[in-house]
């Protein structure tokens, strides 16, 4: 297993390198550059040229990429071209926020998904199955900005229970964190629960129809025990995979929710950096997202291997 982890980690690094190159090539293709973005409507040809020289944009693209790469090897991500703040400062701050939001959303969504999925699996096509899966589907089928704004109108504007924006730079207390993040967490959870729940339901239903589970039923093992011990264990691979995919989404794909709730997360930083063509910041964000994705996928694989002994002995 260690062998597998090592190999996957190596593959991951390779993927990261590839990603960094693709991102660089991608940003080179964008029209305009950071000098134009910074000076905006006020740009004059001379001031543009001067700023480009100052920011080192006059050097050939390949050279800029290589020097950036050299910096990264020493864990130096450079300085934001747009704001002159070290990229690490910018990114670490936002990463913390993103992880809090993603963590809380996962902590809410994953258990609910399991309850719905397992509950539905014990009685497929029963009342609970039908209602819960349709309800989860309906909520997850709305565009996030619509769902988020609807929640704000109800709970912040009309009822005044919760703040309309999750905008915080430091949480003064746990209670304040909970009220600030309640609505973004609810929005994100609503969006991801359905896909996880249906995956859990389907895998478990599938495992339950296996011969050895039927044998266990005949031997008089309790249904609950069958689901929790046998079925879940065998279903862990695909479930881990879909949970990992959704967690990756929570980290990287939530720019819309961050915008609606004015939450200073990493995804918003990335979108802002794209619009200001701030290459070092774009690179840092994308590398983090990519690394999170790879790590989550790796974790899912490991979970599958632990859960399913047969896989452990393959290869």
């Amino acid at each position: 297993m260690l062998n597998l982890i090592g190999r996957r980690a190596l593959q991951g690094l390779l993927t990261l390198l590839l990603v960094s190159f693709l991102v660089f090539a991608g940003t080179e293709l964008l029209p305009g550059d950071v000098a134009q973005a910074v000076l905006g409507q006020h740009a004059t040809p001379e001031s543009l040229q001067e700023l480009r020289v100052q920011l080192g944009l006059d050097r050939p693209a390949a050279l800029r990429y290589v020097s950036w790469l050299a910096g990264v090897i020493h864990l130096d991500f450079g300085v934001s071209l747009a704001s002159q703040v070290p990229v690490r400062t910018l990114v670490m701050d936002r990463l913390g926020h993103t992880l809090i939001l993603a963590g809380l959303s996962a902590a809410v969504a994953v258990p609910i998904a399991f309850v719905i999925g397992l509950g539905a699996a014990t009685r497929p096509a029963g009342v609970f199955d039908r209602i819960s899966s349709i309800a989860a589907l309906c909520v997850s089928a709305l565009p996030e900005f619509f769902l988020g704004t609807l929640l704000v109108l109800i709970f912040a504007v009309n009822l005044r229970w919760l703040p309309a924006i999750a905008y915080v730079t430091e949480f003064r207390s746990f209670g304040q964190m909970v009220t600030s993040l309640a609505m973004p967490v609810a929005t994100l959870a609503a969006v991801i629960i359905s896909q996880m729940a249906r995956m859990i339901r389907a895998t478990v239903v599938n495992v339950l129809s296996l011969p050895y589970v039927e044998m266990a039923v005949l031997k008089g093992v309790s249904y609950r025990r069958i689901i929790l011990v046998h079925a879940l264990r065998n279903a862990v691979g695909p479930i881990a995979n879909v949970v990992a995919l959704n967690l990756a989404y929570l980290v990287s794909g939530i720019v819309v929710v961050e915008t609606v709730f004015v939450y200073p997360g990493l995804a918003r930083l990335l979108v802002d950096a794209v619009s200001s063509r701030d290459f070092p910041v774009i690179q840092a964000c994308v590398l983090i997202f990519c690394a999170v994705y790879i790590a989550l996928m790796l974790l899912a694989d490991i979970a599958a291997i632990i859960g399913n002994p047969r896989l452990r002995h393959q290869e």
């Binding site: 089928a141 359905s194 389907a202 794909g253």
Partner: protein, 290 residues
């Protein structure tokens, strides 16, 4: 996206149910059919043109003349909903087709060739897959400008990498199967194996993936619309309709609510259809909105 192979016993059991369509399945198909009909014939029946500014008043309540009220610039929401069905479905379908075609072709190709070709392609695909989709969309559209062809091509390209993974996995499974090996032994070419053996045996799973992918792509396009990148005005598509009318939500205008509900209805129907198809294929489909 994941597809799980069930045991053969479970699949056999389900074969018995193959020919029947459950109530939810009927419901899903009915909704989809309805929207397809609206998309095809609706614009002939719509009371107004999608671009016509018919009222001096923005965000009016529903009246006999404007069944769903007017939007943020005095256009008829009902008519735009109908026109929007065509745009939304057409762009979504074409983008999904592109994603599936690209992903399936490359995925099958990688699986059949195997070796270094497969490794290189899969690594590259991993890299693409690990990008946040919305960011890829932003970059491409910022570079090429926002137009319907660019929107479709971008969404198709962005989602192709997920399809690639599924297609490759499906083909890898089959590769080991005896009939494929037999065909290979007979000296049949790659293309022959692909089109005669692999594709027919993966049709249903891929169709299921298609439905799920379409629902993701419709939501993805509405998110792009929220970030200001979507179809060009005055063309109506549901995602942009929700976004441009959000200011009416606070005063209870139907202008943002109805298109949001339309998006939801399509997504729900597609997902129910996926469930139905999974029952038939014995494969389980899931994924994450991206």
């Amino acid at each position: 996206m994941t597809a799980v192979k069930p045991s053969s016993a479970a699949a056999n059991r389900r074969n018995a149910k193959r020919r029947t369509l459950s109530a939810t399945g009927v419901f899903a198909v009915a909704i989809l059919l309805l929207w397809v009909l609206v998309a095809l014939f609706g614009p002939f029946l719509a009371p107004h043109n999608e671009a016509d500014i018919v009222s001096d008043v923005n965000f009016t309540r529903p009246t006999v003349e404007y069944l769903l009220g007017t939007d943020y610039i005095g256009r008829d929401v009902f008519s735009r909903l109908i026109y929007g069905a065509r745009t939304t479905l057409a762009t979504g379908l074409i983008a999904t087709l592109i994603a599936e075609c690209l992903g399936i072709c490359l995925g099958f190709f990688a699986a059949i060739r195997g070796g270094i070709v497969d490794s290189v392609m899969s690594r590259l695909n991993d890299a693409l897959l690990s990008f946040p989709h919305i960011m890829m969309g932003l970059v491409v559209i910022a570079a090429l400008g926002s137009s319907i062809p660019v929107l479709i091509a971008t969404s198709g390209f962005v989602y192709a990498s997920a399809v690639y993974r599924i297609a490759r996995a499906l083909a890898m499974d089959l590769r080991e199967k005896e009939f494929i090996e037999a065909a290979r032994a007979r000296g049949e070419g790659t293309w022959w194996v692909l089109s005669r053996e692999i594709l027919p045996n993966t049709t249903l799973p891929l169709l299921t993936d298609f439905a799920l992918r379409l629902s993701f792509i419709i939501l993805f396009m509405s998110s792009l619309g929220f970030l200001g990148l979507g179809v060009q005005p005055p063309t109506a598509d549901w995602g942009s309709m929700v976004r441009e009318n959000m200011e009416g939500l606070g005063s209870g205008s139907l202008a943002p609510i109805i298109p949001a509900a339309a998006i939801a209805s399509i997504t729900v129907a597609l997902n129910l259809l996926v469930d139905e198809l999974s029952r038939r294929t014995g494969r389980i489909y899931g994924g994450a909105r991206e």
